[in-house]
């Protein structure tokens, strides 16, 4: 059900009381603070607000006013999308769902007082806190690179200005130039992402700069959809892409952003564009909140609540939940389980058993899409894979085109599910 826009134009007490579920009239409304407005946080905020019909006070803290989705940002780099196509704003979450959208950085969490402090100085109280901060990078994971080098060697693994920079650098490569990617170790956001990006860069270079070369240094012997990507590289970008796995020193890498060189297993190469995707960890606020163990935040598979604090939930990339890949689809799926549990805890609404699913589409070349997916269930130990599927090599062009069109439909669906 959609809440009528008029519903929240007046946020006075009368409106609120009229909307509140009967059992909470006369009581304080439950307060939920959500940190991070991506696939996990925006979805959780929207579902809690939508389904509680005003009975829960939802605040969403997100520093950016326009959110650029990481999913489909590779298609932007490849020239299939423009930057406006992947940008979304939060206005409808405020106007149609009554969410208090605060554009600020959360810089502190006091779990005993149940408060969140913001960079702007304000303090927010919560009954339940939902952390969906995405990823940050592990310092020193690629020798020679740190965040001060991200202009020379972009990561483009948080979409927006970094994606624009990388696209511009690919387009500015000299004829016959070299593009290098330093691929990340597991686990990381969007397992097929680096390899789809290679396809998109190659797609652009094939027509604009066909003698250019692409080098990938990879610490992993295997990667997501490997057979499908390698088939695509052979079929569409033959001779352009050199993937160097750990067997050939892909795990022994350093970079020099000032000299624009990459050294792989002792051999130094001058490059014209360099995409460094460092090792990842949970977004910093999860660490500040004290709910991480190592790089990630362990959670219960039943409701995405932190193993450290049942009043804190962690969604998406930042969480350590078991078998689900770190994807926008996964975060959206986890957000609904979390929203249902939080609403049940604060209003007494019925809580249904957790169920999860994920599908990841990747674009190999124009109208040539592939996908991988699985469904999952909650167990005491973890979110457990219950079976899935993957596109096959050798599929015909008609099926690949249909898969691509389906990915476009999914993008429209999930962004509507996140932002209203």
């Amino acid at each position: 059900m959609t809440i009528n826009r008029r519903t929240f134009l007046g946020t006075g007490a009368a409106t609120t009381a009229a909307l509140a579920a009967p059992q909470v009239i006369g009581q304080a409304r439950g307060r939920v603070v959500v940190i991070g407005g991506g696939a996990g946080g925006a979805t959780a905020a929207r579902y809690i607000a939508k389904d509680s019909k005003g009975a829960i006070d939802v605040t969403l803290v997100e520093p950016t006013r326009t959110y650029y989705t990481c999913f489909f940002s590779n298609l932007y780099i490849g020239g299939f999308k423009e930057v406006a196509d992947i940008g979304h704003t939060y206005g409808r979450l405020a106007s149609d769902f009554g969410i208090n959208v605060v554009h600020d950085w959360a810089v502190g969490v006091d779990r005993s007082a149940r408060t969140v402090s913001l960079a702007g100085g304000a303090t927010l109280s919560y009954d339940r806190l939902i952390l969906s901060p995405g990823i940050d990078f592990v310092d020193g994971s690629v020798e020679g690179w740190d965040i001060t080098a991200q202009n020379a060697m972009p990561h483009a693994y948080k979409a927006g200005s970094q994606s624009e920079l990388l696209r511009a650098q690919v387009r500015g490569m000299p004829e016959g130039g070299v593009y290098a990617m330093i691929a990340p170790p597991n686990p990381f956001r969007c397992p097929p992402g680096p390899y789809e990006r290679i396809c998109m860069v190659a797609h652009y270079l094939k027509s604009a700069n066909p003698t250019a070369k692409i080098i990938i240094a990879d610490p992993k012997p295997k990667f997501s959809k490997m057979a499908l990507f390698q088939e695509g590289w052979g079929d569409h970008y033959d001779g352009m892409i050199d993937w160097i796995g750990p067997e050939f020193g892909g795990d022994k890498v350093s970079v020099d952003p000032a000299a624009m060189t990459v050294t792989i297993d002792g051999e130094t190469t001058k490059v014209d564009a360099c995409n460094v995707i460092p090792a990842m960890k949970a977004g910093r606020i999860a660490e500040i909140a004290g709910v991480t163990d190592g790089n990630w935040a362990p959670v219960s598979a039943y409701d995405m609540s932190s193993r450290t604090d049942p009043n804190v939930h962690v969604l998406g990339d930042a969480s350590q939940q078991g078998d689900m890949p770190k994807s926008g689809f996964s975060a959206n799926s986890q957000a609904k389980v979390c929203a249902n549990a939080v609403r049940g805890a604060l209003t007494g609404s019925k809580v249904f058993p957790a169920r999860y699913s994920n599908t990841c589409w990747s674009l190999i070349s124009a109208e040539n899409g592939v996908k991988v997916g699985a469904s999952y269930e909650a167990t005491d130990e973890k979110i457990k894979n219950t079976g899935g599927f993957i596109s096959k090599t050798g599929e015909n062009a008609e099926l690949r085109k249909a898969t691509y069109e389906e990915s476009e439909g999914w993008y429209a669906g999930i962004t509507a599910d996140m932002f209203g």
């Binding site: 169920r355 997916g373 699985a374 389906e406 999914w410 429209a412 999930i414």
Partner: protein, 231 residues
């Protein structure tokens, strides 16, 4: 003796003209077979009712998207707002290339490439409109779903919870670019479609994965929820 070439040309011309007239008017009986492409979503004839798409009794001569009892997609509401009426020309356009006439059309139908098929189908649709009733067909007749399963009254509240898994891809507002709309389907059609994915009668890896872990009660719950969703 050889034929006068002028007579031959005349005969050929008559033959072509006759063929054109035949195509123009179409063969309603042949069109009935072509309707097999449509019957998954549309019913027609005595007792026909709305399904995934509206029933097509009296469609010829009717303004687009004009059944008050059917919830149309934005693509067809756009045709209505343009004042489009279903006649020989507009039906021909729709049947040749639905996406060109109604961009964003939710019809899971790519068009009929053969003009003879299109003309025959239009003749069939028109015949129904003229009152020559042909019994309704109604979708997947060999679906094999137990009537007891079709009779399950789904729990819409449970369906609302389960629907979270659907609306990541199938838009809750019924938008249908790239992925079909599933809002406002008649519950029996919804159940039949999901069972077809569960048994493998219908192929789609994502849908088979989703359907295979849904029980009969869960499918019925989803059907009950989506029947009244997308308002």
């Amino acid at each position: 003796m050889s034929a006068d070439p002028r007579i031959l040309i005349l005969l050929v011309a008559i033959a072509i003209h006759a063929g054109a007239a035949q195509a123009q008017s179409g063969d309603a009986e042949a069109g009935r077979a072509v309707f097999g492409e449509c019957e998954g979503c549309h019913e027609i004839g005595a007792g026909a009712r709305h399904g995934i798409g509206p029933h097509l009794n009296g469609v010829f001569g009717r303004p687009a998207a004009s059944h008050e009892t059917f919830a149309y997609s934005p693509a067809f509401l756009g045709l209505r707002d343009r004042g489009l009426v279903w006649d020989e020309t507009s039906l021909e356009q729709l049947l040749e290339d639905p996406e060109a006439l109604a961009p964003g059309s939710p019809m899971g139908f790519d068009g009929l490439p053969d003009i003879v098929d299109r003309r025959n189908l239009i003749a069939f649709l028109r015949g129904i409109g003229d009152g020559s009733r042909i019994a309704g067909t109604g979708g997947d007749r060999d679906h094999g779903v137990d009537p007891a399963v079709l009779a399950i009254q789904g729990d819409a509240e449970y369906g609302a919870w389960l629907s979270g898994e659907c609306v990541t891809c199938h838009r809750a507002d019924g938008g249908d670019a790239g992925i079909p709309s599933i809002v406002r389907w008649p519950p029996d059609r919804f159940v039949i479609a999901m069972h077809a994915y569960r048994t493998g009668r219908r192929e789609h890896p994502v849908m088979q994965m989703i359907a295979r872990r849904l029980g009969d009660e869960e499918i019925a719950a989803l059907a009950a929820y989506f029947e009244n969703s997308g308002e």
